[in-house]
């Protein structure tokens, strides 16, 4: 008696909710039109391609907890979802970073776990981009684009969390106190890595791992480094795959480094390199840059999850009877569903505001790539030797890094607290709406074939990763109230 989980009515369409964006169109037509188009394209993608796979893939994990979601990785590659934010001159889709939020919302409404898979890849990409190591970027981005063409998908993972240090490595203040077990060591021609990373999204399907670890784990801030490790490297191996409650397609892998050699050119960034402290304080800057983006992203992703479970509950209430009357015609059911809809709108408002905080406060805007980046002539120009030399030069890199991270403390704090707020509010709402949906639907709600229990399982992770909601509350206090209350103790 399996059921379709939700119908294709566009209950949360652009026109029904993104009012601030529609008004903004007066000032930035291109940004808004592109965003709207991306939302609509992704909706088609969801209905036609993702929806038919999502529940089926999730079910396979119950039979085999070590299942790898190859079909979803291939789907992402076939529809160019791995190169969305890579400029067109490099063969990517050149989509503006701004729309990453609404797009995540759209995808997550259909399958939260798929966003996890893309998000793991995106996190690796974002971390790599923010090192501004154009040489490595050129190499990796070209492989991602090539992989999409040949349907041999190239995904990235981003390895931060360690077995004894989760939220710790996500905060500047906590990092030095964390119990770190990973450590790199300089050797002739490069470095060797040792230790274990856990809970790494996309780990088992990624071709490249962007690995963050210090050269001295007693002084992680001063010796922080970022490495690119191909999955076939000697000394690198995949450990166990965690058996997660939900978001199973996003994977959570253990990465094991045993004297894993990384050649000099794949040391993407070292705060303390052979020339001394060339990028002092880079870790917290990189972290804040990444987290400002990723936490807002989790906000959008959570909003989509909250929305997805709501859409499914509405569909159920429309098509089932309770005590002789169609459910949705009971007044209490309407009130219950309305609470869920209001929650979705509140979540959306907060994550959008967080994206606007990024636009307002980060110097190298996150709205759209400059138009020339998406032209063909640029591709030709960039591939010529002199331009390559300039692009790969250290001076340009330091210029980028200086420019990008040279924000006023107040600006950085605004990005921080808004990102934390989006993360906490939206993920709490995703969990709450999942609770509410299952309470309303009861028997069908807890059956796999209606799709709502999957939302319930998927939601929980949103409150945990990217810094637990507890840690994000502290971060929010610290960056928002903390600076207005002199002498207040912050944690």
């Amino acid at each position: 008696m399996a059921q379709v989980d939700f119908d294709n009515e566009n209950l949360f369409a652009f026109d029904e909710g993104f009012f601030s964006l529609m008004y903004l169109r007066k000032f930035n037509k291109g940004l808004v039109d592109d965003t709207r188009k991306a939302i609509e394209d992704n909706r088609d993608f969801c209905i036609n391609h993702l929806k038919p796979l999502a529940l089926e893939v999730d079910r396979k994990y119950h039979e085999n907890p070590n299942y790898l979601p190859r079909e979803l990785v291939e789907l992402a590659a076939r529809h160019r979802r791995l190169s969305s934010y890579i400029p067109k001159y490099m063969g990517g889709q050149g989509e503006p970073m701004f729309m990453i939020g609404p797009v995540a919302e759209e995808l997550a409404a259909t399958d939260c776990a798929f966003v996890g898979l893309l998000g793991g890849h995106g996190l690796g990409l974002a971390a790599l981009m923010l090192t501004f190591n154009i040489k490595v970027l050129d190499e990796v981005l070209a492989k991602i684009v090539e992989g999409e063409k040949t349907l041999k998908p190239v995904m990235l993972s981003c390895a931060i969390t360690e077995p004894t240090a989760g939220s710790d490595v996500e905060e500047e203040e906590l990092y030095p106190k964390a119990r770190l077990i990973c450590q790199a060591k300089r050797v002739k021609g490069g470095a060797v890595l040792n230790g274990r990373k856990v809970f790494i999204s996309t780990g088992h399907v990624a071709k490249y791992h962007v690995v963050l670890m210090p050269f001295d784990n007693k002084r992680p801030l001063d010796t922080f480094a970022c490495f690119l490790v191909p999955s076939d490297s000697k000394g690198f191996s995949l450990g166990r795959m965690e058996h997660k409650m939900g978001q199973r397609a996003g994977l959570a892998s253990e990465l094991v480094f045993e004297d894993c050699f990384v050649p000099e050119e794949h040391i993407v960034l070292a705060v303390d390199d052979k020339f001394g402290q060339r990028y002092p304080g880079q870790y917290p800057k990189l972290l804040k840059g990444v987290l400002g983006i990723t936490r807002a992203y989790v906000g959008a992703w959570s909003t989509g999850t909250a929305r997805g479970v709501t859409e499914r509950a509405i569909k159920f209430a429309k098509t089932h009877k309770l005590k002789g009357k169609t459910m949705i015609n009971h007044q209490w059911v309407q009130a219950h569903l309305t609470n869920m809809v209001m929650n979705v709108f509140m979540a959306r408002a907060i994550y959008m505001e967080s994206y606007f905080a990024n636009l307002t406060n980060l110097p190298m805007g996150f709205d759209r790539l400059p138009r020339f980046m998406n032209t063909e002539i640029m591709g030709w120009l960039m591939s010529t030797r002199p331009y390559k030399m300039i692009l790969h030069s250290d001076i340009l890199r330091r210029f980028f890094i200086w420019n990008f991270f040279n924000t006023e403390p107040a600006q950085s704090q605004r990005v921080q607290y808004m990102a934390s707020m989006a993360k906490v509010v939206c993920s709490d709402i995703a969990m709450e709406n999942s609770h509410l949906a299952l309470e309303l639907v009861a028997e069908a709600g807890v059956r796999h074939d209606y799709g709502m229990e999957k939302c319930f399982r998927d939601s929980k992770l949103l409150q945990i990763f990217e810094g637990t909601n507890q840690l994000n509350r502290l971060n929010l206090f610290n960056n928002y109230l903390g600076r207005h209350i002199p002498g207040v103790e912050v944690y």
Partner: protein, 378 residues
Amino acid sequence: MSGFLTGFKDEELKSFWELGERFAKKELAPKALELDRYPHSQFNASALKAAAEIGLFNLTLPEFLGGSGQGVTALSVILSSLASADASFGAVVFIQIFAQSAIVKWAKKEIAEKYLKTKAPRLCAFPIYAPPTDLPLEVKALKESSGYLLTGEISSLALAPVAEIMIIPAEVQGSGEASFFIVEKNSSGVKVSEPVLGLGLHNCPVADVELKGVKVPLENLLGGEGQAGDSYPEFYALFGGALASLSLGVLIGSFRTAKSFAEERYQGGKQIIDHDQVRMMLANMALLIETGETICLNASQAVDQGKGLTQAFAGGIFLADVVTRATTDGVQCLGGYGYMHDYGQEKRMRDAKQIQAMFGPSPLKRLELLETILRREG
């Protein structure tokens, strides 16, 4: 957690509690995680056998059926312990005893003896996920001279994959009301689906059942025609304390795991338990456990004394609801580890939510509670 024990002056209840704890520790805890993979692991038949050996399924049966005639209180005390180790088995016991009680209440003496006075207990499937005031009428019962002919489908029948007999709600044609029938699973025309994959309580299997002209003898009708619609809602409310205990047990397990993890793990140079936010989550769990024990015990004892119907009803709704939120926090206390299968914490969150889905939507239950109160006052 000293559990119910501290409040007990009653030696008999204390011994039930100890029995439950021993059983949970020995028979359930070691295998709970592996068995959660059902149907890709076994049904917990060994615990079932062990439970039968200590007479668990005879607990509430009246003496004429060879039982020890205990009330809901004894059941509640034991269920909480079972659920703290493995809520799936707790649910198996709850559903079985609930179904047995329904047979005792409504069946003729010889039918009760036929199905319940057996050497080994015969598991009985029951529509535990259907709202008592809105039982499905998809199965139609056609009355013939020698009995009824049952046709139709029923979804999410608990214990169906492993049961020998089933209690099926069906509409005697044209009546518009549900009646309960005892149907033997091996009757011809009964088709039980593959186990339905659900959120929690995986080892308390559920299946969809199709009946194609299944012949049921007249005496297998429980009570009179339409009896299920009339007196079932009040009957189920009496088990509110036991249902509350099932939820409470899950929370106790979640609290124990969260507490010991928080004492072991370090974060930001401090034990997790020394972070106020974790402390607050644990404190909230403790608050619910301490008050929840009182609710379960009082409600069940009142019911055993022939009172406290609305109290038990409310207790079942309340604990099921709050425990779903509290076990969600139970996962949070462990961070990423809570989300993984290994610590059993995510299982508790799923189990709690599955228990809440028993007897229908929780807001509907609240409305029914008010309805009952208004009716009694009016």
